[in-house]
Amino acid sequence: MTKVKICGLMEERHVEAAKEADAIGFVFAPSKRRVSIERAAELAKHAPVSAEKIGVFVNASIEEIEETVEKVPLTMVQLHGDEPDELVQEIKVPVIQAFSIRGKEDVARLENSVADFVLVDAPGTDYRGGSGHVFDWTLLEEAEIEASRLILAGGLNAENVKAAVHQTGPYMVDVSSGVETDGRKDEVKIQQFIQQAKGDSMQQTADKTGFFGKYGGQFVPETLMKAVKELEDAYMEAKGDPAFKEEYHHYLSEYVGREQPLTFAKRLTEAWGGPKVYLKREDLNHTGAHKINNAIGQALLAMRMGKRKIVAETGAGQHGVATATICALFDLECVIFMGEEDIKRQQLNVFRMKLLGAKVESVTKGSSTLKDAVNEALRYWVTNVEDTHYLIGSALGPHPFPTMVRDFQSVIGEETKRQIVQHEGRLPDTVLACVGGGSNAIGMFYPFLKDESVRLIGVEASGEGLDTEKHAATMTKGTEGVLHGAFMKLLQTDAGQVLEAHSISAGLDYPGIGPEHAYLADIGRVKYESITDQEALEAVVSFSRLEGIIPALESAHAIAQAEKTAKTMGKDEILVICVSGRGDKDMATYAERLEGLS
């Protein structure tokens, strides 16, 4: 199927609009669409990892081209000048050489090109080449050029692109002025162009939805592609159905006990001496944490899809318990994979799951923790995909999971936003949440993303310290990679092997972080800090004694960071902490680690 390139991008929102294109182009040659290397690097952050990033040059030096390729970084180079063959061959990434087609003699020059791809265009006035004029496509019919090397440009727009594709069958079509209005890119035209060029036949499979900037995607084995696509469709359909929403909210209020209060923490506020502190009380949910918000939503969706078997992974056991609970409620068959190490650490939750009728499978592979439990759950899903839904526990995995989990958890942020305005008449200044895979945090943050006055802070676990090997600080120490179906940030070796994560809190013990968080960090919308095991334990004690709430270990990370952040804030400011869960499940750890407490 013909690929689409949207060229001459200069603004973030246009890069976003071009999400479903296969390639985007930045112009580095003198032109009204010229961008600097730095600007292109900024813009590239908003494009899916799998999109080609192509730089357009006219008679640039090899040094200039190489520097640009490296810094943006670019995946392809497009040349519009009189570049000699030696230069074309010297460029390390695939090269597109552009030719203006006036007549047959130009076709001959193009046939001799040594570049990987040739781009044909009408004679230009802009940056030599891209004139927006249409050339006579029939000239190409006799050209000795493989269609698989051919890129078609020149006066294309949403109206004529279908015919152009039909006539020449090119590898890619390239458009710039054809998706502009008054000399500026136009989001609607960009999307219309892509749709027309690709036709409806493959539209759904070619789309790049499910990317947050460059992160996300559907990096799963072929056997699962049908299931993730079906899930994507089913979720989109359900999302638009008011009856589905109503049912979901019915269970949230009647079964989970929502809405949960936003409690003013009077003693904590006094003790910290800074901003007014409010607590979002996810600890009050049935089963003791935010995880059940997502479990209900996904279970309802699974039943809507006719699936009555559920597989899930769990680390701390919180998500496993939430899933087992919902499966009992709806009479669904339930298998939970849990690492052997975590089974030892979370005996009580293992028994709760069994009591609720779930089958708990011990995973003894790899590090025998959450990451390995996800692997086994995915393998189980691959094998039983036709009748089983994978109820993933955090904002992770292939699209649509990160989006869907976020949406189901957004009830946290939506309630908070409403409640703080009721209490204080305005939005908070700072909101904090802990980050394992990132579901309670994204649920809390998402409704605030557009409110730029609200500072958002995600808190990950630095275990025994960032300078040790025992931490789970993916955002601080991680690098880009693919795990469990998504391109995200990972703790990994130089050879791309995923490392074990370490945290006293089993729920933060994951070597990746959800793709949307990776994106929010890149664009600077959310700041990520980290808290050690020791700091979290200290917060457990002080918080329990000041507020009479024993927090989950995960939540204690957010609380510990909140204390640090509060020190930099004034008394007239407002700070909100997401207390994602209560500490019942952690009582054995507390008893052991806090022994001798007086």
Binding site: M1, K3, D22, A23, V49, S50, A51, E52, T75, M76, K92, V93, P94, D116, S201, M202, T205, A206, G217, Q218, F219, V220, P221, E222, T223, L224, M225, K226, A227, K229, K365, G366, K371, N375, L378, R379, V382, T383, V385, E386, T479, E480, G481, V482, L483, H484, G485, F487, L490, Q492, D494, A495, G496, Q497, V498, L499
Partner: protein
């Protein structure tokens, strides 16, 4: 020229052997390749170990873990292959998960594959939709990106995938992960027949193939077989000669 293109002209059924690079130490790799090409296999697929191989069953996962313990990396495997001075007579393929490739650099990966005389690459967690992540770089080096199709691949996607297929198509014969199986389901025949009708390149069946009776069952509907876990297991147990009848059963001229 890419050796995979030669496969199309073959009459006999192809036998593709999968091995885990560095299971038992990286120095074993050349020995194993030499052994297999002498035993008459059509092509060899060299697996790169990965920490989280979600498409693989216990046999290949365990082999990967042994290789990782021995310090094997994608880089070392490609270097080792590039250093071979003996004649490689069959096409070599690399099977790797995506993350080691991203970490190594896709472009560098493509270039080093070429240097190592790799004809094709299989990346099980890089679906058709995201192929451009690797395809252009591989194409530049004339390395094929082998596509997989499965029992759950929808008609629409099947058409699209086959349209771009290079080298051969990997038809996954189980809804599940790799590993030896007793039974291959009857649906598989309908599936492979359908794929073969539409495919411009040879269709090889893989996942779960470990017995002569699997081969007999699917022989008429595929162009070749890919055998993994059974070979990995046999090399480990030093019983590789027991695989030879299976190779024979596939590659020998067959009259019905």
């Amino acid at each position: 020229m890419n050796r995979l293109k030669l496969l199309k002209e073959q009459d006999a059924k192809a036998f593709v052997a999968y091995i885990m690079a560095g299971d038992g130490g990286l120095e074993k790799l050349s020995e194993q390749v030499l052994y297999l090409q002498k035993a008459g296999v059509t092509a060899i697929e060299i697996g790169i170990p990965f920490s989280d191989p979600v498409a693989d069953g216990p046999t290949i996962e365990a082999a990967g873990n042994r290789a990782l313990k021995a310090g094997v990396t994608l880089e070392k495997v490609l270097k080792e292959m590039a250093s071979w001075t003996f004649e490689v007579e069959v096409p070599l393929l690399i099977m790797t998960y995506l993350n080691p490739v991203i970490s190594y650099g896709v472009e560098r990966f493509a270039k080093e594959c070429k240097k190592a005389r790799v004809s094709g690459v299989i990346i099980p967690d890089l679906p058709y939709e995201h192929r451009q992540l690797a395809q252009a770089f591989l194409k530049k080096e004339d390395v094929a990106l082998i596509q997989l199709v499965t029992l759950t691949t929808t008609e629409k996607r099947l058409e699209a995938i086959l349209q771009e297929a290079e080298g051969f198509v990997y038809a996954v014969t189980v809804t599940g992960i790799t590993g030896a199986r007793d039974q291959i389901s009857e649906d598989v025949r309908t599936f492979t027949r359908k794929v073969r009708e539409k495919s411009p390149v040879p269709v090889y069946a893989g996942f779960g193939i470990s017995k002569v009776q699997h081969v007999d069952m699917l022989r008429e509907d595929v162009d070749g077989f890919i055998v993994g876990s059974a070979i990995v297991e046999a090399f480990r147990n030093q019983t590789i000669e027991e695989i030879e009848p299976l190779i024979q059963a596939v590659t020998a001229p067959h009259s019905v």
